[in-house]
Symmetry: D3
Subunit: 317 residues, 6 copies
């Protein structure tokens, strides 16, 4: 039983060092991305930033808790897959908690570093406002992309007078991404929506909304349609954990009852296999409201499935 | 984007005053119902009473926690709907915690006030014993009604020697409602049942029991049958939160594994649209056993969907 | 209403004595099993042992918490069933927390005592390593049996160099049971698996793996196949609570997202009716990670359904 | 090392039977007190009643949680002391949760049974309203007694119009005890008070109030004064756990910051040694608001120290 | 018993309306402070802002939780005191969560409104960055004042490059208050400090630091010195709840073990009686990390004691 | 303000890498201790082992949680002190959870590595059974030492028949240390004891027991006596977190009410300054029972104070 020895070795390393890179992959010093990421197809990053939160803050701690939980999400298959894909942990993007513009610069820079090295960024937020600079970096390199957006909310709100100051809060990043042309027209796929949407914007940008009722009728047929619509376009995946029902993911800042089950969420990410995935994030995990690390463990599992989908099934990538 | 401004205004009011009427609707002084409820189609009320509880007490605090959580259940659509239906918060019925007979008098009086003003009561309990005086008020005004009763238990127990004293505990209100003729024969619809029932009583009153296995086969077809059976009879809806599985609603006093998912619960209440709803309650929320306000948020969502169903889809009501 | 009086009597006994035998059945002194278990068809036992745990320990407290929760899992039907089946609580097997070999001797001895008295053991663990001595006792008396194993993991790992010392940890009991010939070839049925498996072992012993995706397509058709494959072979049932999704069963040591719902878990155990069940366990409940006793209550419910399945539907047993 | 073997034996019994009589003492069937309590100097009882609660209910579950925690409060000395004093567990008084008058009758009857057998009742409530029937039973047998009352509140409120129904709520038992002459004039000693008091009543009955500021200046000198004032009068001790600061005892229904530390609470009960104690209770433990069983463990410790004080130091009793 | 009726009336109002102004005092519409605050000596305000937090965010919810807990902090004495001082609840200052400069303007404006009406502001934060605009408003009206600052930290850090953007984070407000001349030289009294301090700044502004070791030697003598040093200067009190040990106040964002007990904290605020208090705040309460509302209840108690100290003992004010 | 920049740099590193060496000190690969520890005076180690636990297990996770909490225990002074003392994090000792003998070998080996490099080990357990191999390594190198042992229990139990198997459980390490001559006669100082002790053993080995009542009379005078008795003997410090009251340290496996306050615990460790400390541990932290990381943060603080005491005040060390 070869793999069992591997798992032992893995557990040994974990116990030996007490550190928690995602899934126990090698952790690298990302100050020089070109050399740090050499040969990697996957770079895991955390963005401990929650300055864009409107309701319950605290997602800044998600990179730490998801790293720790990720250790318990690995099995022999996963270890094989991760090493096959040359995954490394590039650490966190040091986003200042109270400076949204600095966060955006740093994140865009970090993601650019990953993409330049020919790798795909797999990110744990932070709140959802981090996805705007990620998409900016992606579009700058690859042009407008397809986006699979799993969420309870469309995140296409307008800048809020009341919320004040910097307009790019966590309820609006997809609006900006559309308006800045980061997403190809007709290639924003929003899945799991159940808290209303902006009809005008949806029409104008030909956004595809698959609300929770459609998901409930079957993840597979739904995702076949999504995959068919996307084809071989480069695709970015952004997963707001509040797409999942709060029973399965209580640790989040704007919970919305009536969401995905964990099984549907996993099936959904698995069904991304075959797409040309260029990066993925899981955002809005809020450890302080979690119980028994349910949400962090699910987030790690989704990330793992995303990495597994990268290049699967034909493995070209 | 008109609605966004509305939401801002709404959030502003919430932050400005720090008070928590349900869903942020206007709160009125209900000492003179006729004027307080003038023009309202919906009156929200709390009944902080748990003197009828057999297992875990604490539902007396539900009106406070559901009010607070309700703020996070609203979206632009909801705000429109609530103002379209002229919803107001009439405060709590001051039911003394240790006097079941006083509770019954006060609740019957308060519900009568709402009905007299031509509005529909939407109530947060309290334990399930509060539904008896509600149904008494309803039947006094409208005659025997149809009742849609969503619950894990039939709540048709007999008075308990052991539980002692006042016989009207939270496991028995539907028995009394049947025996007092408050419900039209054949028009008690009990949905989600999974803890046994009294076969003789069921036969005698032609009660319709749709147990959890039937719900599992599809909420829509089930509810079509229920709606067909009820037709345009005036209908009262009583939702015991323990109908929902404790994974989705841990904050309740007599949890029963194997229940509704939150998605089924929401679909179920939504499918009430088209019925002639005269009132609704959500009972048995127990904040001290909740986690991350899951249960209170779900209760607020169900209440909101119930208000949305009022008069929908043809909007005559 | 005869049964209501019974429930009252039952609650009275519970309140009167403040003790918590499982489901309120009579508790007996099992030092002389032959007389203690005379006439019983079901003997409930706890095994407060977690010395085989690799991740989160604490399952040693499950027998206490499941006993307490079991009081709230009973209803009139259940009381009838339990007394009809002559259920008694034989207490706990005093397994020393740090001596795996002593645990195995004591458990094998205790189970032998139950079987010798002609009764079926219904056990609450403890971690999953307790099932090896249970199966040894069962096979010693009945020869190789069929095993229905509900779990997220196959529990067929190899002895771990790293985990050290005694090789029989909680991730391996089914491997040993296969290798020791305790299970009839082709009669290990593993249901709910989602964390990888050992292909060589599976082939060698003709293990039937029904992974979570198969369960998701319907518990009933799946279980019809399982029942058909087993026929009238004596069958032991081992239910690792981590088969259930952590949203429904957060109190467990190696949670795995994407599992059974509570409704599927209950349906699965119910569908065992008609098999010739010779014993059952529910293991890996970890009270310290539970919330609002969700997991303990579900474990008690599964145990109760297992007892109900015993001899059902034709009641010969 | 003789005692270590004893502890082993004790732990063995606990693990063996999975039942939880207080401190692992023998549990007896109290339906015939005269024979059940024969030879016992201490009878432990639970009163699972919280029908008198004004704020957070749930103390009905304290007898179960304190019994379980009590197992971890014993050490070798304690085991010796308990067996030396012939302690037995008489189970719970089956007080119906919604019938205050039935509760009072049953409690008075149960306590009379203990006193008639020549033993001292050591009681876990329940809310504080249970102390009135206890004191009635005590006074009926022994005449007006001295009472040491440790609490944040004086519990001498008047019957509340608003709280309604039965007037004997948990904020008033000491008023009734004074007015019914159950306490000798000048012999009510209220310790730890910090939420106001009724000056007229205090004067009229010559109540001694030692507020929290006096306790803070030293438990020993304070208790010397109390002991001197009481002398050899028969003395009943009633300990409301909310006397302790909520940091040390979060599991209670009417918490009041600024209270006793656990060390002061223990010292206070220990300093009762030398008094002629005729009974004691610990009330208002509310498990649902507890964390890590802190409050239940402290309650068990205080009860244990109370038993230790019984008859100490001269051991006449 | 007059007061008992008052409490009943009070509880009745609370139950009747289900709203939670602080301590149940009248809530007023503060858009026109001059008329809203007419006759009031105390105006209670919430500032739901945590945009200045460096570690755990979430203090934005404190005004809601402290209002709710405050209901349980009142007794008859308190009710008398509050009405004697004409306390009203002015609601929350609607500080946008992501706009520090807007927060500062709004808070300064709101506090100015209170002071202009001749009343004293009693504020619940929010994080500690809210105290800078409060002190600006105070100093603008009254000139440099004395400040009693109870905290684990001196909050005199420099602007942080790393934390970025707006320099006024929650670790620095007292530095700015000193540098802007809002505090009279030698009249900043920092009590409970235990996390280091800036020696140069302390010397330059003649700051008085009474570290936790000095507090431990007795609150009374310490506060006598503080009172003597302040004399009849107008005095503002700012209480960071993390001054208290996390055992007594777990719900805070930058906990520091080894702090004040709740008894010392209460004694400390009580000992402010005799000073000429012009306002007070309690900040850094973080409900999501609280347990059983310990921290919110303590915060409410401290606020209540602060109001009691206003004008006491000679009642001139 | 130089130090502020340092703190920023520190926070930056933490956020940048998302890893959690204790206090953010450099983490080194300890496979070759001689070079890894070169120049270090302090080596921090974790021992994730709880195989010796009798009551609540789970201390195996303490090294992870204390590392994470330690980040929030540092301030500018601490950073200076840690770098002044050349502290490094040597990772965890990979002790197999179910093999006590392997644990003892590995721990003795690891501690020997630290001592050989001329550094002092600062260890986070794990349960208290890890202290035996630590003391073996220490005594092998330095001969019998003085031991300052802070604990609620003396941990001098005899091997338990019942607990079975390996005799070295967490209630007995000090007995073995005495019997194996690892501690100089008369130089075991046990502080905070409150759960009974073995009088014969105490006499035989001239153990000094300072029970909790002596601590309560003042930490300083007590520790002066201890320091005087020890003089300049090499001294090892073992701190069982259950010495602290469970209100301050709820996350532990065998809580004992009536313990040290956090302030006393910190004062106690601080007062070790001047002793010739050769190593220290903090054991029995159990994260699963903690709340808001209180216990982990206190453990980190105690460790930090221990490092500060190393060599202080005269700094020779």
């Amino acid at each position: 039983m070869k793999y069992r020895d591997d798992t032992d070795q893995f557990l040994y390393e974990y116990v030996r060092h007490g550190m928690t890179p995602f899934f126990g992959v090698p952790s690298v010093d990302s100050s020089d991305p070109a050399s740090a990421y050499l040969g990697a197809r996957v770079v895991l990053l955390g963005i401990p930033y929650d300055g864009g939160t409107s309701q319950n803050p605290g997602a800044r701690f998600a990179p730490y808790s998801v790293r720790q939980a990720s250790i318990f999400a690995v099995n022999a298959d996963a270890i094989g897959r991760l090493s096959g894909r040359g995954a490394v942990d590039g650490g966190n993007v040091p986003a200042p908690p109270r400076s949204p513009s600095a966060m955006r610069e740093l994140v865009e820079h970090a993601i650019t570093g990953v993409l330049s090295a020919g790798a795909a960024p797999f990110v744990v937020g932070g709140d959802h406002s981090v996805v705007l600079p990620i998409l900016r970096a992606v579009a700058k390199r690859l042009g407008p992309v397809a986006v699979v957006h799993i969420d309870a909310h469309t995140d296409t709100a307008t800048p809020s007078e009341f919320l004040g100051g910097d307009p790019y809060h966590h309820g609006a990043p997809l609006r900006y991404a559309l308006e800045e042309g980061l997403i190809e027209r007709g290639q924003l796929h929003q899945i799991g929506i159940r808290m209303g949407f902006d009809a005008a914007l949806t029409r104008e940008h030909a956004v595809n909304i698959y609300d929770i009722d459609e998901v409930a009728q079957g993840v597979r047929p739904l995702m076949e349609r999504v995959r068919a619509a996307i084809g071989q376009r480069p695709t970015y995946v952004t997963f707001d954990i509040d797409a999942v029902d709060p029973a399965f993911a209580p640790g989040t800042g704007t919970p919305a009852p009536g969401g995905l089950t964990s099984r549907e969420a996993i099936a959904l990410v698995r069904s991304l296999g075959g797409l040309r995935i260029v990066g993925m994030d899981v955002v809005e995990v809020l450890p302080a409201l979690d119980h028994a690390d349910l949400t962090s463990l699910l987030a790690a599992t989704l990330l793992m499935q995303g990495i597994a989908a990268l290049g699967a099934p034909g493995e070209p990538g």
